[in-house]
Assembly symmetry: C2
Homo-oligomer: 227 residues x 2
DNA sequence: CACCAGGATAAACGGCCGTTCAGGACCTGG
DNA sequence: CCAGGTCCTGAACGGCCGTTTATCCTGGTG
């Protein structure tokens, strides 16, 4: 049933055109707002052909999830081979045609389908590996909760992506832009600058953070931000 | 089918019941997925009454935005009077009836209506104030970009809220739970623990972070993760 | 040639949607 | 008693939705 996604050369077939149109249309209008007729128009085909090739709109959406996850995994492998970075989404930026996938991901991450959940689990596992390497190399600090720290960092990264519109309004940065363009990279610095500052020096005095962390114990009922 | 939310007494006016039902229904099914008929059923009224009181579904959604923003602003004032914390959402947790608002916010933050955008701008300004106070008190470290740092911290916080489902799967914590319950607070520690560790000690060696920050300059094209 | 498998389409169907319409119950003041 | 408002409802309308049906076109195979 699954054709070879990795080949990618025959993106001229109607089925691939429909899938790509669906990804961008879902990203633009949301899954509910993107009608089959709109997707078909974007692919230059008739609405019934969409159903003919994918069975239903829901199945088409699942196919998009699978495709996006496959591309991300493939690109991640390529990036790993070239030397990994910290940004788990670097794999998609700058890749030809990767930006619509990034926007699709931003739009559908909150819905939580099975496929993107599995993808996130993978990304967390990868991130934990990167972080361990960084710790071993001495550039990253060790953690008492390595897996949870990897998850938190990934969730922050993806959360900012989901809220990209607000990132743009508040900071002027577009996280779904191609960062190989110098001006886009400079704009993204309004986000990555403070992030790297936080990553470097932290936010709080360590003793203060430690005291807050002890407050998470249930016996002491002083959670963060309570009287 | 009349259903009883917390409280039991439906002495609220029908308009308020419709608005509250809309908030929870929007939060559960999404704005597109929540039909007027479903909202009306949740409020124990007929569908036309929803339109009669609010004019249209879109106007009802705007009324929900306004109401949520008003409640958050009001609760924030109360929390400030009692001594502010760092968590910008602490205002909503533990407040009677605040949890549905939190879930509504998580569901609609990504859509970016005018009202929630204005609310976010307010929250950033407040956060900047809190951070400045913390710096002055010596518990927080100063920043070269105070406003941007406040925005980043708020975006991380809200991003985790939007991805609450993934937070639950990856860490077992529910950020939309009432953290005054000890077990919920303990579970939330799986998120807040690593967060406070990151806030305390940072993530990277400071020199390494500084070098990465310099890499944001356009001339040096070494973004994180290149081919 | 006949044949037919499959890509592609126009037309149409049933269903749910947001909304409108035409009133019914119920109070309040005369 | 009636008049007039307010709150509320059942029925219905038009429209868009995802999907089905029936049909055409095209090219490869015997």
């Amino acid at each position: 049933m699954a054709e070879a996604v990795a080949g990618g050369q025959d993106d001229r077939t109607a089925k691939a055109r429909i899938r790509d149109s669906a990804i961008t249309t879902f990203a633009t209008h949301g899954v509910d707002g993107a009608s089959v007729r709109l997707i078909a128009e974007g692919a230059g085909v008739s609405p019934p052909l969409v159903i003919h090739h994918f069975g239903s709109k829901e199945a088409l959406r699942r196919a998009c999830d699978v495709h996006v996850a496959a591309v991300i995994r493939e690109q991640k492998r390529a990036v790993i081979a070239a030397g990994a970075g910290l940004d788990p989404l670097a794999a998609l930026r700058g890749v030809a045609g990767g930006l619509p996938l990034l926007r699709y991901l931003a739009r559908t991450l909150a819905d939580g389908t099975e496929e993107v959940a599995a993808l996130l689990d993978d990304l967390v596992a990868d991130a934990e590996g990167y972080l361990a390497e960084g710790v071993e190399a001495g550039v990253l600090k060790p953690s008492a909760y390595p897996r949870q720290r990897a998850a938190v960092l990934l969730l922050w990264s993806l959360g900012a992506l989901v809220l990209n519109e607000h990132v743009g309004r508040l900071l002027g940065a577009d996280l779904t832009a191609d960062l190989s363009a110098p001006e886009a990279l400079a704009a993204a610095g309004a986000y990555f600058g403070p992030v790297l500052e936080l990553f470097g020096q932290g936010l709080m005095d360590e003793g203060y953070a430690e005291r807050l962390r002890e407050g998470l114990d249930p016996d002491s009922a002083a959670g963060p931000g309570r009287r």
